[in-house]
Structures are given as C-alpha cells and as structure tokens.
C-alpha cells in the first residue's frame, strides 16, 4: 500500500517537474517573441514617421493594434523635439544681435490630440522623434515564473526605445 502511494507521489512530482520546465521554457520564448515583435513594430513605425515627416491616425492605430497582438498592454511614450532659434531682445525691446536655441518638446498627449483633431501630426525636417514602449502588465512568462518558482515579476519587462532625426517634410 505504502509503495503504491509512494509511486503516485513520485510520478506526480516527476510529471509536474517535467511540465514545469516545459511551461517555463515555452512562456519565456513567448516573452522573447513579444519583445522582438515590439522592437520590430516600433522600429517600423518610427522609421515610417521619420521618412514621411508626419504621423497619421491610421499609422498610429495600426501600430497600436500590432502591439496588442502580442497579448500585453503597453505604455507608449512619444516625444517630438523641435529645435527653434529665438532672437534675444532687451526688456525695452532693443534687439541684442543675438539668438538662443531651444528644444520645444511635444509629448504623446498633445500629439494624440492633434492626430484625433486633424487626422495627422506633422514634423519638420531635422526634428527629433522618439518612442519608448514598456509593458504595463506582468507578462505570461513572468506570471508562470512567479507561480512555479516564486520569482516575482514586475511590469515593464518588455521595453524598447527607438528614435532619430526626421528626414523629410510633408507638403
């Protein structure tokens, strides 16, 4: 009787161990694929914006849909840096024969507002556009790891940065 009980326990542990390893490996691969997809889609999206000189509603929505296909939720932080040259005047309005340079930064809230209102957000040649994407939820791999081996996973394990100079302008 004891031997039968021992056999069942041993068999259960053996099967559980084998399945755990397979599950850990599979979900880890899924996370890696999700990271690759996020990298690839972000690169394609940013390059498309940099080449065209604008971001349309369709471009943005297609990008978001591609990210969602990985099964995770993401924070998308977009930054548009526009270099401006502003003349320097004294307090009494006399031009001081000098100018200052400054970056005017526009972030995703304002970019999205313009996209939703006008259908398009335009950039100037030489501006900078960059995107940071990070996962908001604990990924499937993270959940399985915390369940099976007790390693706590945080959100944001899938993260990517990508950006550069705007190459063309939309006319």
């Amino acid at each position: 009787m004891t031997d039968i009980f021992g056999r069942i326990v041993s068999l259960t542990i053996a099967v559980f161990s084998a399945l755990s390893i397979i599950l850990l490996t599979m979900t880890s691969i899924m996370d890696n694929i999700a990271q690759d997809v996020v990298d690839l889609r972000t690169n394609q999206f940013v390059d498309s914006v940099r080449t065209n000189g604008y971001m349309s509603q369709e471009m943005y929505l297609a990008y978001v849909n591609q990210l969602q296909a990985t099964g995770n939720l993401y924070d998308i932080e977009m930054t548009h840096e526009h270099l401006t040259f502003v003349p320097v005047y004294s307090d009494d309005g006399v031009f001081l024969n000098d100018y200052q340079t400054a970056y005017e930064n526009t972030y995703e809230a304002d970019i999205m507002e313009e996209i939703m209102a006008d259908g398009m957000y335009e950039f100037s040649k030489g501006d900078y556009f960059y995107v940071k994407v990070s996962s908001k939820n604990v990924t499937i791999g993270g959940r399985v790891r915390s369940l099976l081996i007790g390693v706590l996973s945080k959100a944001g394990t899938i993260t990517t940065y990508y950006g550069g100079v705007i190459r063309n302008e939309f006319f």
Binding site: G6, F85, T159, Y161, Y162, V165
Partner: protein, 338 residues
Amino acid sequence: MSFSRFAVVVIILTLSLSIPTRVHLRETEMVMDVKQRYKIAMEMAVDDAMDGIVETDNGSDVYLNKDYLLEQFYHTLFINLGCPNDSDIQNRVKTFIPVVLLVDKDGYYISFSTVVEGNDGLSVIGKNWTDKLPYTYVEENSGRIFNFTLGDEISVYDPYTNMVHEGRYQDLARLSMFSVDDRSRGMYRSELLCGGRFDEIRRNTIINSITESMTYYINVHNSIAQQFGISYKFSLPYVEEDDWARTIDDISMFALFQGMPYASTDVRLGYLNLYTIGGARIYKKSYYYIVPEGSVPYYHKTGCEKLDSAGASSMAHPYESAADCAAQGAYPCSDCHP
C-alpha cells in the same frame, strides 16, 4: 530499483541537465540582445550624424559641420539607449566611445577624449576635435611631400624648388620635373606618379595615417578612462577590407564603441566591441523668409501659407537657415514652426 527511486533519479537528472542549459541559454540571449540593441543604436546615430553633415557643396567646396555631427551622433545614440535626459548615464556611455573619425576629402578629423569640468563641478569626459590631419606621403628618393585626397587630386611640395604643385596626379605625372630622372639638374623621377602604383600607395597611406592617429587617440582615451574607473584596455579592432574601402571612398564617419561589459554584474560574459561606418548625404537646404507683421518680424519656411501674402521684397531675400533669421531679430512663425 523501485519505481519511486527511479522517478527521483529521473527528476534529479532532468533538473541537473536543464537548469545549467537554461542559465547558459539566457546568458547567450542576453549577450545577443545587448549586441543587437547597441548595434542598432550606433547605426542610427551614425546615420543621423551624417545626414546633413555636408553644409555647402557647390561641386568643389565642402564645409563639414563637425560640432553638429557630434551633437546629432550623441543625441540619437542616447535616445536609442533610453537615456535622452539622463546626464549621468550619458557620461558613462561616452567613456565607452574612445574615438569618432570623420574622413574628409583631403584629410580627416578625430574626436578624442578629454577631461572637463561638469555642471556640478565634478570631472566628466569631454570630446574635442583634432585639426584636419592630412594624408601625407614622403617620397624616399626625392624627399617630396605628397598630400593625397580621396580622389585623383593631389598637392606636392618639392623641397628643391620650394614650390607646391596641385592638380590631378595624371596631369602632374606628365611634367618633366616628375617624369625625368636627371640628378645633376635636381630632377627626380617620381616613382609614385609614374610607377603605376599610385592608387595602391594612396590607399595604403590613407589607411595607415588613419590607423596610426586612431591608435594614438585610443591610447589617450585609455589613460582618461582609467580615471573614471574603466579598467578595460581599449584598442583599435580589426577593420574588414570592405569597411576600409567604404571609409576611404568618400566623406564618411567611423565610430567605435568598446569596453562595456554585457552584464555589469558578470564581466565573465565579455565586453561589447563594435564599430559603425556611415557615408555622408548631401543636404539640400530649404529656404527661410522674414516677413514683418506690424513692427515684429517673423520668419517662415518655404511652403508656409503666410508667405502667400508676403511682399516681393521679403521673398527676394531668402535665408539659408533659421539661425540666420533669428540673428536678424525675427521670431519663428507659430504656424509653420521653422
């Protein structure tokens, strides 16, 4: 052996094989990811730096804005490494870039490391450009000094006549002072111009000059990096033959990223060591116009709707850059955001 013991043996065997394999796999993946991420970041940075580097090009006169090049290079690099606003990480990244090379048509510049004082009074790594370093070759028999370019144009200093000759090497080779060997009259046949090995010697001279200078400034960086706690020994990596060919073909840039451990906690995994090469694209400027609105002048870029109603006098005077307009006291238009 009973079944339960057999099962235990199987479990131990499976775990002892799978866990080290998994750890090794994760390390390999991590190294590959870091390599790929930095490779993309460097390629983007070099690409952006070289976009618009050639400020004026009317066929012969080219002006390279080197400060603009470095600014663009580092800005794009920091963006793609996720630290566009973190100056501490930015300074750390700069310690892994010993040199940046800019190859011009008649010489080259190297951005090398120096120590400067940061905003908070602490020492940080700074970058300076060398003056233009020529591609110089000294002919043994005559002592003539040749300065090469990336093309056929050369300049030759002749110590006997104390004169400088400039032109295409094929044209200079026809002159008797280079083609005739008459030592009694101080004429030496130029083996370089007339020996049929001009391209080979020119190419080797350019590559050797660049290699020697880069090695020197990498050594300078070694001593500076040590002050910032980097014990890695920086050195010029082996550059593929094809990559040299691309570098000395036209105006181009070469950037080296070296010495960063793949994992800061485990240097056993090795160090990142990569270089990136990019060619220049000629930048066609768009023009800017200043239009007064009341007493305040505003500047607009080509295509702005406000230019439709601008007077002929405004349109007759285009400016080449937004900076030129601001220097005239004009504000940027709020519509076209020049």
